[in-house]
Symmetry: C2
Subunit: 330 residues, 2 copies
């Protein structure tokens, strides 16, 4: 049914091995015949067969990405950026939203060149022991030390956010985020906040940190209402995620407070969408495009040298000033 190089060869009146060369732009083919072959190929609507190609070449030019069911904005943005970065390196990205073990199994059978795993919580992994011939890179907590992982330094990011506010003159800073100790990533952020408060000798208060069950805008909204009604009167808020921040803005405005005049807001998750909110948000974290490039680069490095050990540094964080922070009112 589908057309092969042999069909193309027949139409072009050459042998199929010549077609193969022509299609791969080999210099061993005369320009004229090359053109003839290319025309025949186009005319027949030839599409190379990936399976055959990767069978012989042992390469697929595909990177498999394992994605837990994703709802958060920051992750969508990351996926898009990784895709772009991969295309730039002439790879293609395929996503699987299956459970980790089966996704990895599928990608292994496909003999993709590399696998990138987005891991939010680490609990899943520990039970099932992952077997993979294909190089894997974890983004987030891998849980097992068998595979290389890259993480961003969330602790430092939040710490820097606090520093930024403190240096601006803020003394009463609040934090809205996941206060439970279930997810290591979220815990890191909280620690960063605490460290900042202590380090810069800021005001402490029992209500200064508000817990959210999910990093969603609803929770951000709710938590902010709660915060503003408490006896703590913050002049600035540190938010643990983009989605959270979206809800925070709404709640703050509803309380007829102005950002950044009455209250400053700085958010984790350094994605371009921050600029598109009602108020362009000053944010801290690794810019997604850089993060994506780092991840891709690291993965390609692993692919090229699968055996050597790869101790990846945490990716550097940045603080992007926009319009949501200013000195406290008085």
């Amino acid at each position: 049914m589908s057309v092969t190089i042999k069909d193309v060869a027949r139409v072009a009146g050459v042998s199929y091995s010549t077609v193969s060369k022509a299609l791969n732009n080999s210099p061993l083919v005369k320009e004229k015949t090359k053109i003839k072959i290319l025309q025949a190929a186009k005319q027949l609507g030839y599409q190379p067969n990936f399976a055959a190609k990767s069978l012989v070449s042992k390469k697929s030019s595909i990177i498999g990405v394992v994605w837990p069911t994703v709802e958060r904005m920051a992750w969508s943005a990351l996926a898009t950026n990784i895709n772009d970065a991969l295309v730039k390196k002439s790879y293609n990205m395929l996503l699987s939203i299956n459970p980790l073990a089966s996704a990895i199994s599928i990608f292994n059978q496909f003999r993709v060149d590399g696998i990138l795993v987005f891991q939010e919580e680490r609990t899943l992994l520990e039970s099932t022991d992952i077997k993979s011939t294909v190089p894997i890179l974890f983004y987030g907590e891998s849980g097992s030390s068998h595979y290389p992982e890259i993480n961003v330094n969330r602790r430092k990011a939040i710490f820097e956010a606090v520093r930024y506010l403190a240096e601006m003159g803020h003394r009463r800073i609040a934090y809205i985020g996941d206060l439970s100790h279930k997810e290591a990533n979220q815990q890191e952020k909280l620690i960063g906040f605490s460290e900042g408060i202590m380090q810069f000798g800021l005001v402490s208060h029992p209500d200064m940190a508000v817990h959210v069950k999910k990093l969603s805008w609803e929770e951000g909204f709710r938590a902010t209402k709660q915060l503003l009604q408490s006896s703590y009167r913050p002049t600035a808020i540190v938010s643990a995620s983009y989605d959270l921040s979206a809800g925070i803005i709404r709640a703050v405005r509803d309380a007829s407070l102005r950002i950044p005049i009455d209250i400053s807001l700085i958010s984790y998750d350094n994605i371009p969408q921050m600029a598109g909110l009602e108020i362009p948000l000053t944010a801290v974290g690794t810019p997604v495009d850089k993060l994506a490039e780092n991840l891709v680069e690291a993965l390609l490095k692993i692919i090229e040298h699968p055996d050597s050990i790869h101790p990846f540094d945490d990716i550097d964080i940045e603080l992007n000033e926009r319009a949501s922070c200013g000195p406290p009112l008085k």
Copy 2:
């Protein structure tokens, strides 16, 4: 590097064709040797090579799904459900977030068994003429009539929502959604609303329909504030999407109105998450699980009979009563 059936054969002390049979659970192999082979395979960590397999069998057991950049909740839910439905039929799903043309090209080279395209706006498609040997099914507007497509009857869905409210006694109903005529899907919803208003002889008012630029919660929030401040005093709201509704609820509650006592709310997008909102929302639309099953079923039908024409009916809609609608206050 990676282990093949030949390696397994050597370890198990049989020929590799026997291994092949054993692995495919053929009855032509003695139980005892089968076990021996299976053990050897596991011990070596054997993973079948997809490329080789699909090369000879002309099947990949993979369905490629083309996804525009994902941000909306309802779509995430749909993807998850399709994945599940596919697994049930022993297929695997792989996602591509590349532009339509290149995604289809990749899937063609992979010789996936079928392609499912999520198409929100149709503008993209019309310029590039899609060529695909692999069967394609469009969900949404394909734009060209070359490929089969399935859609849900959004017009009817919204119409039924209006009917539901009307029969409950509501006379002043508002609509929050995309009022521009750019996207056919959104236009359909608006038409359904207008038809309902006319058919049931309800009150008309210039402010009864509020436009949102995006189907996001922010816009839902904003539009609702606007609606509640206008001179129109609706007793019920019809919302065009889940995300919108989330924002609507917040805005309504902020105005100290109670749902459903002071105001009723019914939403398009029939997804389980509706039940998880602050107020379990009565919703109309095709339940995602059914939608997913329908799509999968239709696609498999096309795969089996690629040549015949497939005029798919719109998928039926359902109205799920939850806790957000009641009779008007007086």
